[in-house]
Symmetry: C2
Subunit: 143 residues, 2 copies
DNA sequence: GTCATTGCAAATACTTTGCAAATCA
DNA sequence: TGATTTGCAAAGTATTTGCAATGAC
């Protein structure tokens, strides 16, 4: 299930980002971009790589995530003051966060309409508008 | 400028939160609640306290911020994966973040209208919807 | 062979915990 | 005085940096 084509895709991806195709980068790119869109923390990604038998320092995962982000292959999502999340969906969109599990999912930008946004003040511009919908298990026992 | 009344206010505030009025707490409460609404990080608050001549460990600032938050006197705002911000405005509202300076300001909840929010999935409920408008200095040199 | 680039140990930044000391009834 | 609570040193997480080793050309 990872034939020649996928290998080429990954190489193309790294090449387009002007990054040398090291063993570690190929492994991380494969985990990140092989399936559909994903949201990961460095820790999760590192664990997955290790499970897959790829030995790598956690710092390398961080460095690679930042490089991918700078290259436009990932986008950082701010939903938690304790941990950085990276999203393989780099188009602008919003998020739903499960407060209990930390699980993130996407809301397409076009689904939400936000009106009443203030003008950016003199000399400033809006760089983006992020919406986070926090959800949790409903109180079962509501009388 | 900090007469008897303000002292009483602070004591009342701490008392209503069921917290003993220690020297450190009074000092922090004074910094936080004396003027209008504020957004602070633990680090900033600690620096201010020190400047004001109140010696205190940074950990005490964190503990106090959490106690105030649990008591409903503060609200935590998530806009940065690296640092926790606390807001003395505890009503529900949104934020503008200056990406360059880290400065936060408020947008009243009633100013924004958000339509198209998804239903919470089965058994889940929406706990809150947070909007962050990120702004930065406009590119001067746009041709 | 050269030299930009990588990968990771060590350092840093931020936050929380555990417990001795202080405080109140 | 004894139970409770406090304040902070030390520990714990999350992330970044600096540089020896590597690998592309």
């Amino acid at each position: 299930m990872n034939g020649v084509l996928s290998e080429i895709d990954l190489l193309g991806l790294l090449d387009s980002a002007k990054m040398r195709p090291t063993r570690q980068r190929k492994a991380l790119a494969e985990i990140l971009f092989k399936a559909g869109h994903r949201h990961v923390t460095a820790e999760e990604l590192h664990r997955e790589a290790c499970s897959g038998g790829i030995r790598m320092a956690l710092a390398t995962v961080y460095n690679t995530l930042h490089l991918f982000t700078r290259a436009g292959l990932l986008r950082e999502v701010t939903v938690d003051s304790g941990q950085r999340y990276f999203d393989t969906n780099v188009s602008h969109h919003h998020h739903i966060l499960n407060e209990q599990t930390g699980q993130l999912s996407d809301i397409g930008e076009e689904e939400l309409l936000i009106s009443g946004l203030p003008e950016a003040s003199e000399g400033m511009e809006i760089s983006c508008v992020d919406v986070v919908v926090r959800v949790r298990l409903a109180d079962k026992e509501k009388l």
